[in-house]
Assembly symmetry: C2
Homo-oligomer: 565 residues x 2
């Protein structure tokens, strides 16, 4: 029952400034996870060979991508296949760097463990450097040599604190030069960039740059983001999505049972995920809330804030007729970014506030277009004030600071008041707001994410060993048992399109949005009317590491892979 012994870091390679988990006492569950045995895809358990696919293209504007990546464009995807001992890769000692880039996602430590174990297993005598604090660590040459003792306490643990992460990018010629210097100084054979869409774009630029300079350093990417918006045909999901959604779904399930038991609250739950609504959709599929707003649908249907409010109010009124004065409503963090009229209002406000004095009488409002004025007047007073007063250092309205769930509660309350006066609503309404975000980014990875990340890392090691660059580690067939998972790499250029910025084409990996024609959304859409009025709540419960439910795969992944839920 008492916490187990301190898991210390006994290595001598740790420099004094390295963040270790030294002072931490591990919980029983953390401790048991450290020694949890991971499963590896069969193809990684025996000698393998690499099979290249056909020449690849780009996600859009292939001609421009070809110009931007003259060395890498057209690369085939690579697949690992079983091979005889004689066709196995020749032994090499490799010097590899790894970096964590961007926001935390459960499983990052296992990617690093996977790379390390591959090197130990199949390229003994190799060296693994962990760049500290994200890409800045590459540019500044801040790194630590990773060894077994160093890595051990982080196995199957959440967080990115083994080497920490950062949001810097390697963009300018000077920064590329710094990266080259570090790669040369450390004599790096390869570099694995663990990150989201931007970081993988960056990884590809780095791979192209190294190749163009005739540097031997190969660069691979790894798909990381709890938001689930970095995926493609060959990269079925990004790591961390599974764990984060399960953590949020546990909380949502608990709140649902509370709502039904108490019978008097509407819980408005805002969920992390600004650019895409995958998290919200997955949580809805796991828990069956009464109302779920999907940003991509709001955008596609060009809904206004009033439309969204009315939809919520309509459901609340119908439920009141059945004496249900409670419910659960899921809202994606980025909702208002999906509403065009809000974007217009904010653009106009930024313009006006930069040049006009705001008079108390409200004459300044005449500068707003009719549509924006109408929206502004529709917003709750607290939000109006927030828009006017809380601005960033550039004087811009801070959209990210708006607590959408609280704003909606106020708007719903006002509208319900009107309907009550009109005799169209006779219930009681109490809104409770929640934001589930940070608590999902660093949870202990689920069995799925633990195995998936380990395979991503192990596979990245194999791809580097075989000389590949400019690929993103891709592990597929994820709804099957781990042993049947496929392992390979996908050309990063094949995921790219261009955006025009400042008159120049810039390569980008497009964020994968919720597809309104995709299986997950269609499943949700086919059920939501029933969920709205009946109480079909499902409570997934806490993530289990053994026993029932412990090997579950996300609903999104199942549905996208053609399975039913």
């Amino acid at each position: 029952m008492a916490p187990a012994a301190i898991v210390t870091n006994g290595t001598t390679t740790v420099t004094p400034t390295v963040t270790t988990r030294f002072a931490s006492v591990y919980s029983e569950v953390q401790n048991s996870r450290v020694d949890h045995k991971l499963r590896l895809p069969s193809v990684l358990q025996a000698p393998f060979a690499i099979v290249d696919g056909p020449k690849s293209s780009a996600a859009g504007n292939p001609d421009e991508i070809a110009k931007l990546f003259p060395y890498l464009f057209g690369q085939p995807s690579a697949a690992l296949v079983p091979a005889g001992e004689n066709t196995a890769l020749p032994h090499r000692k490799l010097k590899i760097g790894v970096v964590l880039s961007g926001g935390q996602a459960p499983g990052g430590h296992n990617v690093i463990s996977g790379i390390y174990d591959y090197l130990q297993q199949s390229a003994s005598g190799s060296t693994l450097y962990g760049f500290k604090g994200g890409p800045a660590g590459i540019m500044k040459g801040k790194y630590v040599e990773l060894n077994s003792d160093y890595i051990y306490p982080y196995r199957n643990q959440g967080g990115f604190d083994m080497i920490c992460s950062g949001r810097d990018k390697i963009e300018t010629p000077e920064q590329f030069k710094q990266a080259e210097e570090t790669a040369t100084k450390l004599d790096l054979d390869g570099l694995v960039v663990i990150g989201g869409d931007d970081s993988n774009t960056n990884a590809c630029l780095l791979a192209e740059n190294f190749r163009s300079k005739n540097l031997k350093t190969q660069v691979l990417g790894c798909p990381k983001t709890i938001d689930g918006d970095l995926k493609s045909k060959e990269v079925p999901t990004s790591f961390g999505f599974d764990t984060a959604c399960k953590i949020y779904a546990e909380m949502i399930g608990n709140v649902m049972i509370d709502a039904r038991s108490t019978g008097k609250y509407y819980h408005f739950v805002r969920l992390m995920g600004r650019a895409a609504s995958h998290i919200t959709l997955e949580c809805a599929l796991q828990t069956h809330p009464n109302i779920t707003i999907i940003g991509e649908e709001v955008a596609a249907k060009k809904l206004t804030l009033k439309n969204v409010t009315d939809y919520i109010v309509d459901v609340i009124c119908k439920r009141a007729e059945d004496n249900y004065n409670y419910g659960v409503i899921l809202i994606p963090e980025g909702l208002i970014d999906f509403i065009p009229e809000v974007q217009h209002l904010i653009a106009e406000l930024n313009e006006i506030l930069a040049h006009e004095t705001v008079d108390e009488g409200g004459l300044w409002k005449k500068k707003l277009t009719d549509q924006s004025l109408e929206l502004f007047e529709f917003l709750p007073q607290a939000i109006q004030e927030q828009l006017m007063l809380e601005r960033d250092p550039h004087g811009n309205v801070q959209v990210a600071k708006i607590e959408t769930e609280k704003m909606l509660i106020e708007m719903v309350e006002t509208e319900l008041g009107k309907r009550k006066q009109e005799g169209k609503y006779n219930g009681e309404f109490k809104g409770q707001s929640h934001f589930f975000g940070y608590e999902g980014r660093c949870g202990l990875p689920t069995n799925f994410d633990a195995n998936y990340c380990y395979a991503l890392g192990y596979g990245a090691g194999a791809l580097l060993h075989s000389g590949k660059t400019g690929l993103i580690s891709s592990v597929g067939n994820l709804c099957a048992p781990v042993e049947e998972w496929t392992v390979g790499g996908t050309a990063l250029t094949s995921l790219m399109d261009v955006e025009r910025r400042h008159g120049k084409f810039k390569p980008v990996i497009k964020k994968a949005m919720v597809e309104l024609e995709g299986a997950p959304f269609k499943k949700f859409a086919s059920l939501r009317d029933e969920w709205a009025l009946k109480n079909c709540y499902t409570s997934p419960g806490p993530i289990q590491f053994t026993g029932p439910g412990s090997d579950a795969v996300s609903h999104t992944l199942l549905l996208e892979s053609g399975f039913q839920i």
Copy 2:
């Protein structure tokens, strides 16, 4: 992987208005819990006899309690002991009612299951009625007959939705009469009231009343509250505390790893528990945050809001010297209720706002005492406005609506700004606020709460069977294996003291506050300085139902029972 079949409620005794879980699809984990086999204390597995202890007294003012409870005062505690077949209780068919009272706590359904199973096992042919919607169900005679099919889907499940709860009290002579009518109409032999301190006081009044009217209906209480503030020597903990704390501790642990990985946020986490800080203390013991505020200590030391702010700021400044510009801070929901100066200010504001016009120039502030004015000016502007504007229907300031964690962030930010100007602080501060509350009240009960509640209910059945009234079901020796737990009942009058209200003595079960001389607080106090500066974070991870950690007992209970952690 797909959710299992719908768990329906096939009973025919269900009236159409009863909340069932009909529309719910159970998750894999929920499903596995339904059939989870509970463990029973050995003494409940075989014939038992009841042994009465010595005559009891009261927690305070025994003479007054004796006057208020002439029939029940002095009752001994009862203990179940093993007995031969011939000394076992004679078979009786019993008619028992059960009611859930007050806020949700994980495990309530298992108390009901325990009562039911006792009756099935040892008093076959008995009837169990569930009063619906709390004590109002008793007064209005709203109930449902519970049978195996009805109860089945709720076994080991969170929530109170089997029969729902309510916050009404049976207080007036008229209300007592209604209760008598229901008891008579249903020919009730017994009633189990599952609730907190108020509800158990109410249960005792009801027991006394029934006894005084010569009604046969015995009344027992059951200790429920996630807040953990209903406990005594013989009632080591209230149910739900274990589960709720583990849910919050999971989230806190995740946020800690996030804080360390990101390196740039101070997370201010407000935790449910208004009257006492047990939840905050337990979560601190489980996770080792940098700063924990315990309301009882703040009150005992008569700290001001400025003192609390300074304490936090001092730690932040010291951490900045070590380049730690991040951390986790726990705050009990009821913090400001513990600060006398805040209470004074609010009392003065209520008085002034009721009688004065608030002028924009601020002349009204002259009505405040110097101390209150100083505090008011110290508060962030948003809080000042909230105090002035958001009032309840009686015109009173709504203290409960103040988001203490956000208030503290603002005050800390302001103070850090000053120290920076003075050259005493050179770090960066970003505060992130969290409130963990509703998500902990209806989680799937831990193995501890599942077994504990089942024993509480099973024991209550045994006590009713043996003719007891006016006791609270008490299960002890909780740090030992379930089989070794003790089972009995404690005289509710022995937990009581009186409070003078409107010139009359009113009996109350005093809330158990965090004892500053108790083992849990002392353990915390002995470690907090180390936790403040080092990062001793522990991440308990999600609640497990099998394997490592699944049978853990709360740290509070272990320490209060004389164990070390």
